[in-house]
Symmetry: C2
Subunit: 357 residues, 2 copies
């Protein structure tokens, strides 16, 4: 099973609990960067979908794509749903015709999916403050055919205005792939999302999901958005049938219309990001990176990440993300999710103790 463990993601609650002999249900998971609140009528929505388990999902997902299209205000034909954003990340690799540039540190599945599809990778990097430097792209513009950007970026939490990058890519006839999985947490997201460019820019492919913002990673629903018909045809050609389950298919009739929940979530994170940034800034021996989304990258100035991860797990039942295995980071980095206020106070206290030692 060597290969699996190399995945190196967070959310390793089960394996950590097994390793340290803890009950997995007692663990507070700060390693997954997902909304701690889920739509409140989720039980009702799920129960309403049970009879659909008896049927195959629609292999073309017409109804689901229309629900997503209405939510985004985008033509449903431009939408291709997948088993989480992950399936879409793997599928878009089938549409590339040359090297892929990836801006690091970032989500490791971009590189993994590229490698498994024998696509050459050109590593670019954010600047020292994890902001995007367009010159780093321009300098290597002749070396790649497509560029992958996560915006806001995981694990750094930074967001960038990348409209200039979109124009640069268009000018050079290259594909821009943007993972906007965390975009809905950003308070002024309309300033940053590239969704409004979908109709005009055929070189743009956006990836989104219900996983993070709606707090439902177990349901498995992501989607790609593009007006490029050639890319859409390629993706449908390679797509395995029925990868989206009927719960994911049906729940979208409801959750996108739950405006109260959506607004509540956005308000909550606007306030809670400020609260966390403020409190974290008062803790010794860490550097806190600005975030506009639901997780925070910390640089440890005295300890290393594996020590802090183990200590928090053993003494506080808290699981954090050791961020040392992100390309471009090292053993001084950890990532924590922003959860509900009660749990946020628990991790603040725990961090104070562990880092003050």
């Amino acid at each position: 099973m060597d290969e699996k463990t190399k995945l190196g993601h967070g959310a390793d609650v089960v394996s950590m609990a097994l390793k340290y002999g803890k009950n997995e249900h007692n663990i507070i998971d700060f390693s997954s960067n997902i909304n701690p609140y889920i739509p409140k009528n989720i039980d009702k929505y799920i129960l309403d979908s049970i009879r659909n388990c008896k049927n195959y999902p629609d292999v073309e997902y017409i109804s689901l794509r229309k629900d997503i299209g209405n939510y985004l205000n985008i033509n449903y034909e431009y939408i291709i749903p997948g088993n989480g954003a992950t399936e879409i990340i793997y599928l878009i690799m089938k549409a590339l015709n040359g090297p892929l540039a990836i801006i690091n540190p970032t989500f490791s599945e971009y590189e993994r999916s590229a490698k498994l599809n024998n696509i050459e990778i050109v590593d670019l990097y954010f600047d020292r403050n994890f902001k995007l430097d367009i010159n780093s792209i321009k300098n290597k513009i002749d070396e790649f055919k497509a560029l992958f950007i996560c915006n806001p970026n995981n694990p750094t939490g930074n967001i960038d205005d990348i409209t200039e990058v979109l124009d640069l890519m268009k000018k050079h006839n290259k594909l821009l792939i943007v993972d906007e999985t965390f975009m809905e947490f950003v308070h002024n997201q309309s300033k940053y999302t590239l969704l409004s460019f979908i109709n005009e820019y055929k070189n743009l492919f956006i990836i989104k999901a219900i996983t993070k913002f709606f707090g439902l990673p177990g349901i498995r629903l992501g989607y790609g958005v593009t007006s490029n018909k050639e890319i859409l045809n390629t993706l449908w050609k390679f797509k395995e049938p029925w990868t989206v389950n009927t719960f994911a298919e049906n729940i979208c009739k409801y959750i996108f219309n739950d405006k109260d929940y959506i607004q509540m979530t956005r308000n909550y994170f606007k306030e809670e990001i400020d609260f966390m940034m403020n409190k974290l800034s008062k803790i010794n021996n860490i550097l806190v990176y600005n975030t506009q989304t639901d997780f925070i990258l910390l640089k440890l100035l005295k300890h290393n990440s594996s020590y802090v991860k183990e200590k928090l797990f053993l003494e506080n039942n808290i699981l954090i993300r050791d961020a040392s295995n992100f390309k471009g980071l090292d053993e001084s980095y950890i990532r924590i999710a922003i959860k509900d206020r009660k749990n946020n106070e628990i991790i603040l206290d725990a961090l104070k103790k562990v880092l003050g030692e």
Copy 2:
């Protein structure tokens, strides 16, 4: 969207309803060959799983694999779960090192997944009565590296004792892949399943799913079984993370232990297969092929499949599977599922009318 429509599976309830302006909920779907009965406490099982939607599925599926292992009486390390049998079919293509022989007519995803992975295909065929002819395999034994058999076979419904094929493959150092998705419907399945050979035969890979027997295609759970560590490592290497949703992950704690439901299902199909074979044999202008599973292949002696499909849909709200696009079949073949007695009588009446005309 050209590529999607080429998939050509059954279960096209939504698109057919749209095409003919019918309400999809009024359609009786005989095109999907799945158990019409689902475990009766399914609502409870699903509700019990809802809190897990907030978490990522375990990327190694330890608990799920143990549940499947207990059900099959197989070491859980030999099990790799997937998003339906389909994901496993696509994954096993990554482990092939040469041409794949497929025995036709059969499920089209074997060929599709092979082609998308640039694997050469050697087409073999069942005999005129859709029984396996081992000589047809022996004659081409030097032309392929792996052999794919669906047993019982879809869409023909026949089952074969393939232990001799397993030995032949072993002798020639070739991989045997058996799709046993429909095996649990077979009354004397222990005589046919190759599960008991898993430990001893490293050249054996079996594919199963909860889709058909437990009547839950919308949940999306299949799995591969092999004791070949090299194959397992390759599959885990290529497997996308989190393809199995938390409902599929959790429901297996329950359904495999629902012995009453499992026995009831097996008893039901033993009787209902006889009932259907008997009644169908009295309908004019068709040839009925023997089945030991939950669907039946019919050869139309006077009409063509698209006519019968349209007629049944328009006049009786019945959707059947036009089987003409299976390689080796033609426009004289249709496939119908065995459903509950009430619906079975409805299709028998409808067939009598349409075919007697």
